[in-house]
Amino acid sequence: MSIKESFSDRILKMFFYIAIALFSVYCLIPFWSVIASSLTTEASLVKNGYMFWPSEFSLDAYKLIFQDNTIYKSYGVTTFVTVVGTALSMIFTSAMAYTLSVKSVKYRNHMAFYIYFTMLFHGGLVATYLLISKYLDMKDSIWVLIIPSMLSAWNMFLLRNFFASIDDSIAESAKIDGANDAYILFRIILPISLPAIATIGLFYALSYWNKWFDAMLYINNKDLFPLQYLIQRIMNNLDFINQISADVTLPNFIPPAMTVRLATTVVTIGPIIFLYPFLQKYFVKGLMVGAVKG
């Protein structure tokens, strides 16, 4: 930095600072306003509209949704789907990715094409829907939220590329020492691939956590609604709000439809905010792998 910045350079830099700051505010405002509006009374929200600062502070909406067991059930479903789904996805994805990365596997390119083709062409929604609901009979089972989305060709290739980038000589020398394929995979390859595995695992976990379309297609049983689908339901009908308000026996009680919707939304994004530092770190890393190798 021996060269001093000219005036116009500093002006431009100033402009960049302001633009980035404004865009960050733009990204933040919806969260801020939804959280603020959920922390007020229904009456105030109806009267004043959505707000950036709770005009009459109140936790009523949160109390109401936590009184009912719907939110707990949905949390349970989403957590189960995310944890079990991610575990299964990772087992099968890394098993497959490893085989496709070993150069002594003669047919690995044929197998890779077999998977690659599914990224280019697909049978469409109708056939998939009929297969899952009619022929596999998976409707209203929690597994329908996991098994049909268990493998992603994209994630598999990302992991394969990572495995392939590991120096061959490590596996070769282990082989000379008498190690078999299983030993090489579990004792050598997987331990040194932990960052990549964490990244792909988070990709899967986020997609399970945010899943709602599959629930809309295949789940009618209220006990099996995942969180994101619950949000979608309560936005479009009042069943949930009437249900959780049914126990309240106060006179002149009006179901707080708006604040309950907002509070449920806030409750849903809670864990994502909590885990965000990890998500950010590994997603950025994963994108780099994809950008350089993909």
Binding site: D9, L12, G124, L125
Partner: protein, 324 residues
Amino acid sequence: MSEATASALTPQEATKKRGKFAAFIYELIKNKFLYLLALPGMLWFFVFAYLPMVGIIIAFQDFKAMKGILGSEFVGLKNFQFFFRSGDWIQIVTNTLFLNTLFIVFNTLAAVVIAVMVTELGGKWFKKITQSVMIFPHFLSWTVVAMFVMAFVATDGGFINQFIALFGFEPIQFLSSPGYWPLILVLLKIWHGAGFGSIVYMATISGINPDIYESASIDGASRFQKIRFITLPLLKPTVILLTILAVGGIFNGDFGMIYAIVGRNPMLYPTTDVIDTYLFRSMMDLGDMSMSAAIGFMQSLVGFILVLTVNAIAKKVAPESAIF
């Protein structure tokens, strides 16, 4: 002599053939552990990716759930004719292409601008915090985003209408005015994806040799000139590659986004109904499996041809940008 040679070749060929099969078996046995590892995944792709391809024949049938795929009657191209005769296709294809073009152009533009600006910034903390904030929306599902949207566009109490009321304007009925929605959807798409999309461009910029910038500085280049003549040209291959990937999917409407946000509001269909949402409704509401399958098949086929074409073009224009 020649006869002898000819007859001698035949068993040789036979051995070669048998040798090929033997080699295949030998390969499977040699790497049996590895093939076994891949087997569950291969089966999964067979069931959930290849079996639905077989289901495409529904598009050529008068599909009845009771009769199943094997028992339903073949009707040739009737489902396709029915779809094209209805006239809906013009609107949904136009909307799909129009919205996706807007998304690709504005999201790429926003991501590149953010990446260039952030790289020029100095303050470490400022950079860290703004980046975290800009990437965050990407992690939310569209159903959550739909709630946010309501807070802005609601006729009673939405922020936009609160704001314009300050100037004495009548509230805008967003939920019954389709004209605003392409803009709203583009703004949402940028909000959701531009910060995240900028990561790849930032990685590309950070891979540029710093000597180039330094020698430009010595030659007296301004900040703007360095961006214009070094950063942007070197970003070009990445921009081309990602645009190609995106153009390959231009016939796939963003169902997750549009269905979550617009949902079943027929008043907004004129600008927001895309192939995927139309297909979904004709399948779930009308139960018309055959026509839905016909629409889906055309969409897959056109998408497939498009990816191949666009990649062939990429190979010519910028060989380093081609996918395969």
